[in-house]
């Protein structure tokens, strides 16, 4: 109800304001142009995020200090904490970074946003920036019309900056003109009542504009035109800092539980910092005066003093909150739990927030396909009458197989329907919906991920075919057929174990990924040799004809399962960049090439035995 009324109310208030005062109209237009500039800037930076951002995030978020620095630097460069928080939520939702790293980035972004106040107070008000705005807009728009993604991105950044400058100019002009008609300082409120009132006004303005940067510029320009008192400007800045969390909160609505945790962490940080600043506002003002005097800022230069205040109170926030990040993360994980759907097939990473950036979309699809593999591996292990935990343990596989001498009833069809089918469908739906904004390399990777999902599903189906005879013969009275089927179980278990080991590695380079082909080679070789051993078993009447046919078919299924799982592993477990991944895929040997390797090896073996 309130939400429905908000927009018409704002329209009415603004409309009335425009009717009453043309100066107010100019200020509001300035804010609108400024916000449009922010949007354009965000659009421009998105063009440069391809791959680079992912690499940077991986390298710079392994410690809290690095995450914090990443937040400071990226916000300083992009001049938008909103964009940084949206990107962070998006990457967190896709499972690319941890919650601790995300919290570190957001705290850093708070600190980085203070550079905006310095730029506007220090440069924006002294230089006639509208003179720079015009050529920036013209060049920017020209570049936007170019076909190249990079040039287009640069165009958006340039035009964005142009609009920002133009917005500041209009706000400045508006307040200057306003001064002649109305003196807003007449509405100034002294004491704590004023602090609370103006904090609320700052908060409300930021919630409406969804940009603390815009609010801050508005505050600085109003302060420079002496339309608000210095004390009230400080309170407005505190309010803006709390209000800026709205972007993260809105962004997290479409995110998974991790994204929501981050938004709450953001809110806690800014609320605590704001509360401390309000509580000690008079002491802080003294501190600002002292710091300003120290760096040579004149006592009556209130705009720069506001920038000093903004920096000091955000730094205090970081100093206060940094030591409690681990405790905060633990609290958030306890307080905000993932919705228990009861379905193993419910997607964990596919959410709208993860679709904001192509890198995040790819990461989400990869994580979800890994989730699909986890569910599938349990089914495949069950199909072999083995427990997945045992396969993944350090116990010798011979022991695992020897101990598992009873059939574990596994209804593969049912398990597939419950934990795989709908998840796979969700992955396909999600990846199809968001492939439009991707580069050629990214689309190729998306196709590979989808193919990996298909391989997983097909491996389950092959296991189903295999299960029928396997659960009959590995417990059969005939020791020969029993041995052969247990060998098959062991080979597939070793594939699952090897894949598990490779998956656990943090740095899987091309060599490790390509050596996964050995599992296929091993299985092909076994399948190849089986024909010889089967003939001998039949000749000696140790197994029957139907038994040998079953074994031959099932060995084929086991080869198929191996091939599909290895192909899946080569895509999902590789940590290489997209271009190297393309090379890995083209160097992986196909079936024909593998057969040639086997033949070469056997020929060499034959020669050696003839020679001896």
């Amino acid at each position: 109800m309130l939400r429905k009324l908000l927009l018409p109310t704002i329209f009415l208030v603004l409309g009335y304001g425009f009717w009453v005062s043309p100066d107010f109209k100019e200020i509001a237009a300035g804010v609108a142009v400024f916000l449009f500039g922010m949007l354009s800037l965000e659009e421009g930076f998105k063009a440069f995020t391809g791959g680079l951002l992912e690499k940077l995030l991986k390298k710079t978020t392994d410690t809290i200090w690095k995450s914090l620095s990443f937040g400071v630097v990226s916000t300083t460069l992009m001049q938008s904490s909103s964009l940084v928080s949206v990107i962070t939520i998006s990457f967190l939702s896709a499972g690319l970074i941890s919650l601790t790293a995300g919290v570190g980035i957001i705290f850093g972004a708070n600190l980085g946003t203070t550079t905006g106040a310095w730029l506007v107070a220090g440069l924006g008000l002294k230089v006639k920036i509208s003179a720079y705005a015009m050529p920036m807009l013209v060049f920017g728009i020209l570049l936007i019309f170019q076909k190249s993604k990079e040039l287009k991105g640069m165009g958006y950044v340039l035009a964005g900056l142009g609009f920002l400058f133009l917005g500041i100019h209009y706000m400045k002009e508006g307040f200057e003109a306003f001064k002649d008609t109305i003196d807003l300082t007449a509405y100034a409120v002294e004491g704590y009542a004023g602090v609370f009132l103006f904090t609320l006004i700052g908060l409300f303005a930021t919630v409406v504009m969804q940009s603390s940067h815009a609010t801050l510029v508005l505050i600085i320009t109003a302060l420079s035109a002496q339309q608000i008192t210095y004390e009230n400007a400080l309170a407005l800045a505190i309010g803006a800092n709390i209000g800026t969390t709205i972007t993260a909160i809105i962004g997290s609505l479409s995110a998974n539980v991790e994204g929501r945790r981050l938004a709450v962490a953001h809110l806690i940080f800014n609320a605590v910092t704001g509360f401390v600043a309000i509580l000690f506002i008079y002491q802080l003002t003294g501190l600002v005066d002292a710091a300003s005097a120290l760096v040579g800022i004149a006592a009556d230069n209130y705009t720069l003093k506001l920038a000093v205040f903004h920096t000091i109170f955000n730094t205090i926030g970081v100093v206060l909150m940094l030591p409690v990040i681990p405790a905060m993360v633990r609290f958030l994980e306890r307080a905000l739990k993932a919705a228990e759907t009861g379905r193993r097939s419910a997607p964990k990473y596919l959410n709208e927030a993860a679709s904001d950036l192509p890198e995040a979309t790819l990461a989400a699809v990869r994580q979800e396909t890994l989730h699909l593999y986890d569910n599938a591996a349990a089914i495949i292990a069950g199909g072999l009458s083995l427990k997945l935990d045992e396969i993944h343990s350090d116990k010798p596989l011979e022991e695992v197989i020897f101990k598992a001498r009873t059939v574990i009833p596994t209804n593969i069809d049912q398990e597939y329907a419950e934990s795989v089918k709908s998840l796979y469908a969700d992955i396909v739906d999600f990846s199809s919906a968001y492939q439009g904004e991707m580069s050629a390399d990214q689309v190729e990777e998306l196709f590979r991920l989808r193919a990996a999902g298909r391989d997983i599903v097909e491996a389950i189906k092959d296991t189903k075919h295999l299960q029928k005879n396997l659960s009959r013969y590995f417990v059969a009275d005939n020791p020969y057929i029993q041995h052969e089927y247990n060998t098959l179980r062991m080979r597939l278990a070793s594939v699952l174990r090897e894949l598990y080991k490779v998956r656990q590695e943090e740095k899987n380079d091309s060599v490790i990924i390509l050596s996964l082909d050995r599992l296929r080679l091993d299985m092909e070789e076994y399948d190849h040799n089986l024909n010889h051993s089967l003939s001998s078993l039949i000749r000696q009447k140790l197994i029957t004809g139907p038994m040998s046919v079953s074994l031959m078919n099932d060995s084929g299924y086991a080869s198929d399962v191996t091939r599909k799982l290895v192909m899946m592993g080569e895509v999902l477990f590789s940590n290489s960049d997209l271009k190297t991944k393309n090379i890995e895929q083209s160097l992986s040997l196909d079936d024909e090439e593998l057969t040639e390797v086997i033949q070469e090896q056997q020929a060499a073996k034959g020669e050696r035995s003839r020679a001896s």
Binding site: S510, V511, S515, R518, I583
Partner: protein
């Protein structure tokens, strides 16, 4: 479309194609180098290995790395050849 424009477009297309090929060559060379190093390491391990099963596995891995490298070298040659014929 004028012929000059068409030629310009074709040139741009060829240039981007050439750029892609160059990039692919660079990445391919890196992976080949890694495979060569890996193969050498495996051979050393094989020489020192006395366990039957382990040396069988090492032998397989050596053959694999060799064939993958060979495939890479072949790809590299064909990329170079393409450049010459263009």
């Amino acid at each position: 479309m004028k012929i000059s424009k068409l030629i310009k477009k074709a040139e741009a297309f060829i240039r981007s194609d050439e750029q892609k090929r160059k990039e692919k060559k660079e990445y391919l060379k890196k992976v080949i180098k890694k495979l060569r190093k890996h193969e050498k390491q495996l051979k050393e391990e094989y020489e020192a290995c006395s366990d039957f099963e382990k040396s069988r596995q090492l032998k397989q891995e050596i053959a694999l790395a060799y064939n993958q490298r060979k495939k890479g070298v072949k790809m590299l040659k064909s990329l170079k050849k393409k450049k010459k014929t263009d």
